[in-house]
């Protein structure tokens, strides 16, 4: 009889390794940021704050730049997004900067923890069970809704930070709600996981039928 591979591998090992590494780095980063000078972690401990305004493009005009020579027939565009920086951020600026890094970090760690819970639960309770389908459903919604909320939150925080560092800021943080990058891959993955949760529920019914088959 052919050897049946563990359906939870290699995901189980990978998620466990990533979470262990993340926990270790987070612990070291937090301790370093709090007690050791010069250590920066997810925006905590940053002495300077920088943010890129992705909604604005600044061109260099037609002035030729040294070291940039397009070949005949080719053109070069020297447009760039402006970076705003300050060496002495205020408390609000530091918090906004930390938010732009912490929020995505929390989302990713949350997704990994839900995945870890799903895998351990499936190994304990069985693959085709109501609990496994429920945990998959939860993960799907976390990915779908979480990715959108994170993108909006980060965009809003960045807009507020840019406004505080720029004289041209319109003072309206609301515009950050309309200029976020749509996380297409996370949305598609979330929808896929939700669909798979439904497929798993069908599988639960089939397994229950099979349990009573002689």
């Amino acid at each position: 009889m052919a050897r049946v591979r563990n359906p939870m591998e290699p995901m189980s090992t990978a998620v466990t390794a990533i979470l262990t590494l993340a926990a270790g780095l987070t612990g070291m980063g937090l301790l370093g940021g709090l007690f050791v000078g010069g250590v920066r972690f997810l925006g905590i401990g940053d002495k300077s704050v920088c943010v890129t305004d992705k909604t604005t493009t600044v061109g260099a005009g037609e002035a030729p730049a040294t070291g940039v020579s397009p070949s005949p027939g080719a053109t070069v565009d020297l447009s760039a997004h402006p970076d705003y920086c300050t060496e002495s951020p205020g408390l609000l600026q530091s918090l906004l900067d930390a938010a732009t890094q912490l929020v995505p970090f929390v989302f990713i760690v949350g997704a990994l923890l839900l995945l870890f819970q799903l895998i351990r639960g499936a190994e304990r309770d069985g693959l085709y069970t109501t609990q496994t389908a429920e945990r998959l459903h939860r993960l799907g919604w976390w990915l779908l809704a979480g990715s959108v909320l994170v993108a909006i939150a980060v965009s809003t925080a960045e807009k507020a930070l840019i406004d505080s560092l720029s004289r041209d800021g319109d003072g309206s943080v609301i515009s950050g709600l309309w200029s976020w990058d749509v996380p297409f891959m996370a949305i598609l993955t979330g929808l896929g996981v939700l669909s798979f949760a439904r497929i798993m529920r069908v599988g639960v019914t089939m397994r229950e039928d099979l349990d009573g088959t002689v």
């Binding site: 069908v202 019914t205 039928d209 349990d211 009573g212 088959t213 002689v214």
Partner: protein, 75 residues
């Protein structure tokens, strides 16, 4: 998809056939190639479905027809 448990009206006469053949449930399970637990589930009317391969082996070992093993008793 409806998830309600469906009751059935099929009776399994394994006890009678075992007695007629002078066999225990464990012996029958070993000869048919089905686990003792599954045969016990079948004997107690808790099985939801039966494979034709299992039915074939039961009839071969017990020397009976499907109609001797199973009957329909409407409620």
């Amino acid at each position: 998809m409806p998830e309600e448990k469906q009751e059935h009206s099929i009776e399994v006469h394994l006890d009678r056939l075992l007695e007629e053949n002078g066999m225990t449930l464990a012996e029958l399970a070993a000869r048919v190639g089905v686990t003792h637990v599954n045969l016990s589930i079948l004997k107690n009317g808790r099985a939801r479905a039966m494979r034709f391969t299992t039915l074939t082996r039961l009839c071969e070992v017990l020397g009976c027809q499907p109609g001797d093993l199973l009957s329909h008793r409407p409620h």
